[in-house]
Amino acid sequence: MKDRYYAGFMQEKPRWMRSLADLRGRLFVFITDAIALIYLWTMVSYCWNTFVFQTKSFVTLPWWVMLLVVIEAAALWENFGVSIGMKLLGLRLTSADGSGPSMGDRALRYLTWHFSGLPLVGVVAAKDGQAWHDRLSGLRVVGAEDVETERYPWYRRSWSIALLVLLIVTLVAAMLVTRVDFVKFFTGAPKTGRIWRAFLSPEWSLLGDGIRLLIVTVFMAFMATLFGVICAVPLSFLAARNLTQGLIGRTVYTIVRGAMSITRSIEPIIWAIIFVVWVRVGAFPGVLALFVHSVADLTKLYSERLESIDPGPVEAIRATGANKLQVIIYGIIPQILNPYLSFTLYRWDINVRMATIIGIVGGGGIGQRLYQYTKLWRWSEAGLLMLLIMIVVWAMDYTSSRLRARLG
């Protein structure tokens, strides 16, 4: 980038570009700190509300109070310590002569900071790229590697204390939000005695039915993987950055990658809900849901592999005057065949796992029957089906990992 634009006639980037980058850095620091503090505020409010008022609410004071406090606190933090945002960008506050800033300078910078909000934009035009509060207090923000400061232990660095507080507050809030109750965990255990006893005496008369359902489940995974591979292989070529060049190529790349990443974020079970509405209950919606998710996942895996191919053979074949198709067949495919196979096996493994639970929403297979039994509290039957699932998933996992190890 730099070479292309500046080599020969310009030593470094123009000043306004540097100032803009500087401004972006300042904004990043401030927004990071503000987000951290807002998060802290909200979580502390939640804990406070739970402990004091026994209500489940994230709000204590009006939002503008929170915003004011957070902004002031962030400014204080950045002037009197090293905030998380500053730590992330590796920035430190120092005086112009390079010595450590005094408390008075820091206080002056903090106070003048309030008046330099708008002139901050003027930084871009200012000659030395300094904002008002920097100039008035004689302090400036520099990279951490430029200042020699003694290393404090962690309890004297404000950002590490802040991280610790964030961690503790997150843990407490998480326990409250998810209603973790270890008393219930121990007192509730006897309630499940019946389940474990039933699991230990599975209903063997269901074995034939169970195996038949299991076969359907494995076939669901097989069909989904097969169709998935058929769609994902061509799509992966469109989703590889190194193969899609030019305006059209880039557009196609962006669209395919975006669509696939959205599709992949939605669990197969949610897809199954949609397909059950579309094609009615049965194994077919399960296959469709797994297929959609497989296409997205495989396209991502495949295209990442395509992006990391060795360009040498491709260029060699292109140099012989081969056309695009020949380049793909003789230059690319030999390089990607084994990884593709191993990704496919991996995906088949996942699909078998998923196929065992997709029946919960009406997607067919062994999961549908299993879910019905658990709803009816017929744990002996459920235990047998779980046992079958365990055996099949374990066997699939074992064979696929052995085969993948062979493929390398």
């Binding site: 994230f58 997150t170 843990l171 809030a173 998480a174 326990m175 939000v177 998810t178 209603r179 973790v180 109750d181 219930k184 965990f185 509730g188 255990a189 309630k191 499940t192 389940i195 076969i215 359907v216 076939f219 669901m220 097989f222 069909m223 097969l226 990443s261 959205i262 974020s265 939605i266 669990e267 079970i269 949610i270 809900i273 949609i274 509405v277 579309w278 094609v279 009615r280 049965g282 194994a283 077919f284 399960g286 296959v287 469709l288 796992r353 998923m354 065992t356 639970i357 919960i360 929403v361 067919g364 299993l370 879910y371 658990t374 779980m386 699932i389 365990m390 998933v393 374990w394 996992d397």
Partner: protein
């Protein structure tokens, strides 16, 4: 007559285990081919049932074999295996690298093959006697009588005459593989009731669904739904926290367990082997049951709610992280360990100062990856009473028919899920890149 290869006459396996080890590839190839022929038999029966029996004989019933049918199927598949082993190159043989050759390493004649096939029937009855009698690799009765043997291909490759490799569609195994895949496709199409006609004919009917999903209704993004008493953001936070707690609890428990599941730490003493096997079996068994099924059990245990989801995710996380962690422990550099052991350190000191510093970064990376997966899983675990954003999703889905904009609300939840998962995926990917 060329000289008889030395290994056939001299290699005498004296003990039974050594003998079994010598014929292991033959046995495995045999079993694999038997399985594949059995699979073909199953598929054929399935298709007969689907296309002929159910349609023309008995609409309601399923074709079941008479009592004598099962032995017949077993025997006929057995015959097919023996035939394919004597007359061709089956999948099992090529997978285990075996080839049928005469004692003098020539290709057997048709007569050799027939004699081998016929003698096999006597050989299988005399198998225990043969094992006891003689300890050579080609010692079974049909080997001896037909003067042919299954030879490991890798050992005799150089002695064989060079032949042009035939295209796959002319080889036995190629045709068999294609037939198996085709048959699987056909049976799979039938077994999973794939119905493209319904997919397309109902597509217009599902259009309203898509229309609603892409026009999400964010009314309850931050404002709690009065009936549900929760908002989408609240549910999302619950999901993220569920996944976080499950990852922390699971990681803390998996950390000590991972040393028990690592070969190089446990050593090869009988006790170490036992602990290793138990730990690995625990990981495998608990990993194979999806966390959503665990949630069913925990919903009974601690009642419906996010805590049941946390516990369900924790169980699966322990098993999954335990396996990943212990594989990581197995792949550490032994150098520092030996250096520390050489100073006279005890075993726990070796682990503390030699192993743990090496594995911390990858443990963190795996845990982050697991958190990612747990967030994905926690979006659906509410289906069985596990709490999280899924509770809101399935609530609105259940309101279809009652609320006119139920699908739009579902769309809003799905959009929120996509956004959060995408963001977490991106962040955890970036952080993992930095750690490793």
């Amino acid at each position: 007559m060329a000289k008889r290869p030395s290994r056939l006459k001299s290699t005498r396996a004296n003990s039974l285990p050594a003998l079994l080890g010598a014929i292991r590839p033959r046995l495995f190839a045999f079993l694999l081919d038997w399985t594949s022929w059995g699979y073909v038999a199953y598929a054929v029966m399935f298709l007969i049932n689907r296309y002929w029996f159910v349609r023309y004989v008995n609409f309601y019933g399923t074709l079941t074999l008479p009592t004598w049918g099962w032995p017949l199927v077993v025997l006929s598949t057995l015959e097919l295996v023996v035939l394919s082993h004597a007359f061709g190159h089956s999948i099992g043989l090529s997978l285990f690298g075996l080839k049928l050759l005469t004692y003098s390493h020539r290709f057997p004649t048709a007569w050799d093959r027939i004699s081998r096939y016929l003698w096999w029937h006597a050989a299988v009855l005399l198998l225990p006697v043969s094992l006891w009698r003689s300890g050579r690799e080609c010692f079974l009765l049909h080997d001896v009588r037909s003067k042919t043997c299954m030879v490991p291909l890798a050992e005799v490759k150089d002695e064989l005459p060079v032949t042009r490799p035939r295209p796959w569609y002319l080889t036995n195994r190629g045709l068999m593989a294609v037939a198996l895949i085709g048959l699987t496709f056909w049976v799979g199409w039938q077994a999973t009731q794939i119905n493209l006609e319904r997919l397309f004919s109902r597509a217009p009917k599902s259009a309203y669904l898509w229309k609603a999903l892409v026009t999400p209704d964010f009314k309850h993004l931050a404002m709690p739904d009065p009936e549900l008493k929760d908002s989408i953001m609240g549910g999302m936070l619950e999901s993220i926290f569920m996944a976080l707690l499950a990852t922390i609890f699971g990681g803390l428990i998996a950390f000590p367990l991972s040393f028990l599941g690592a070969r190089n730490i446990m050593g090869f003493s009988p006790l170490g082997w036992l602990i290793f096997t138990l730990a690995r079996a625990f990981f495998n068994i608990f990993r194979s049951i999806e966390s959503i099924l665990w949630a069913v059990v925990f919903a009974v245990w601690v009642g419906f709610g996010p805590f049941a989801g946390v516990l369900a995710l924790t169980i699966h996380t322990i098993a999954a992280l335990g396996k990943l962690y212990s594989e990581q422990v197995e792949s550490i550099d032994p150098g520092p360990l030996e250096a520390i052991a050489a100073t006279g350190a005890r075993r726990w000191q070796v682990v503390l100062y030699g192993v743990i510093p090496q594995i911390i970064p990858s443990y963190l990376a795996f845990s982050l990856y697991r958190w990612d997966i747990n967030v994905r899983m926690s979006t659906v675990i509410a289906l069985v009473g596990g709490g999280g954003i899924g509770r809101i999703l399935f609530y609105y889905k259940g309101q279809v028919g009652r609320l006119s904009n139920a699908w739009n609300q579902v769309g809003a939840v799905v959009v929120a899920i996509v956004a959060v998962i995408w963001l977490l995926d991106y962040i955890s990917g970036r952080v993992r890149e930095k750690i490793i």
